[in-house]
Symmetry: D2
């Protein structure tokens, strides 16, 4: 608890592994997202994280639809958020979503919300486990969907993207 | 990351400190809270945590209004959630909110969402820092509001409450 | 537009029809529901309406689960809200949900949000059409689920309820 | 009730008045916005309407900040939504927001959510009254902020915008 890390990474980078997939989405704070102090309510950030991870998933074949069509689910089993600076009404910011290379049946994703001056407002991470849609059991062998994604990843197909 | 702890505590219990304040709220999952799989969307849990912590705050003089009237703010600087079992549409559950004794200017709160069979669906914690409303600076000396709360707490006024 | 009706009814009462089913739920405004002015954001009211209509549905056999198990859906095709007085942070209020007698395949529901002094904060209505889950077509003949509900309704089983 | 008007206008067009201000925003349905049937939950549409009206407000000097700095508020007193076709998970759509010319102290806004094939998914309207921030009273004389907007409007400055 409270081992807060401004700008540090949440997941270890493995030597020799392909670079993380990074997707950036630009966004503005809406009126319904701020609290009585005019700052984004802390519990609204999972919405921002999801907007980032949806774009990332679409860019590398790991969207909800991709999982669904492969008979898979990818439930989030862990969510963590560190709040450094508030985001305010109508403020523009960038959601930088970072998917880490991992060879097991899980997705480790980091999120960095950046103000227009480049400073860090909020960061966090989610952990997802891949399970069979029917069984609900965690996949022991890495499913083909993930293998296809990794093949493209190693081939350098997923450049840093800004939307 | 992924050092998940089903039923373990997030914050250390200090020897000789007063017992945590514990408040329980009973709740049902609403239609608008579940996702396409009929399970509560992972990002909806901060709402549940807040419902618990609001009741706890009201029960021991640490509500938003109490802070406001004392010229204080209590921003959440860290949020963590571990998901063990899904909560489903219309399911009843209990939000157990646990405020830990701490002598600095912070509030460490744990949350346990329990199914009707007593099993753990989800747990997590938040860390709040007390700051001056004007300055935005973290309080160095523990503010009178917190001292009054601690005096009542040591006197055993805050019994385990179910609402 | 703007034919606002404080305390008037939205749906016509049919002479000789059974009294509406009325269910009341008591509720408090949560921190995450208010806007920068400390008032409930206008777009949060459908959540309140749904909390009321879920309780009403459970009380008279018209819950989401009841529809689902009968191969039916009940999509909302119209929503209307009139705002008279704001609800503020931590304020207690009552959601009065009123289901009107109707012999076609639709549900006409009115909502009245009342302050503790009994004054009207907000009112509104929803219209739902009953459709087949498979076909998506509006039911031409009133489905057995609705008939069973109406039989109990005429027998006076649904008294005014407060939860 | 249920006088639903697919493609009809909600507010009367006044002969000789300047054309409405029209702003379009393109958007995709997020995972957290759909219900157990994979369709956007009916109560999520006020969020879409607001995203549209925020862009429109920014484009013609009627943003929340503009009102705030002029000592004004613009509370929504009426909201209406008609649902024609569901929007589904990951679907792209357009929010067309239409501000009608009006010479009193109110804002009449219509919303049209369009699928990529141009068909109408949902439409609705809001009515806002301009009030003094202090007094809470509806402005009897049209405030300068609104006058400035109307001058630019008549000069044809607000072209149809797509973002």
């Amino acid at each position: 608890m409270m081992n807060r890390r401004r700008g540090k990474n949440y997941f270890k980078r493995i030597d020799g592994a392909p670079d993380p997939v990074v997707v950036e989405v630009r966004r503005r704070v809406h009126f319904n997202e701020v609290d009585i102090l005019g700052m984004v309510w802390h519990g609204r950030y999972p919405v921002y994280f999801e907007e980032g991870s949806e774009e990332l998933g679409r860019s590398c074949g790991l969207s909800y639809r991709n999982f669904y069509e492969s008979g898979l689910r990818a439930p989030i089993v862990q969510l963590h958020i560190d709040y450094f600076k508030p985001l305010r009404l109508a403020e523009e910011f960038t959601i930088r979503t970072v998917l880490l290379w991992d060879e097991s049946s899980r997705l480790n994703t980091e999120y960095y919300l950046l103000k227009t001056d480049g400073s860090l407002a909020t960061s966090g991470y989610t952990v997802q486990l891949l399970t069979g849609a029917e069984s609900g059991e965690v996949c022991i062998i890495s499913p083909p969907l993930l293998e296809r994604c990794r093949t493209r990843w190693k081939a350098g197909e997923f450049h840093h993207q800004t939307k």
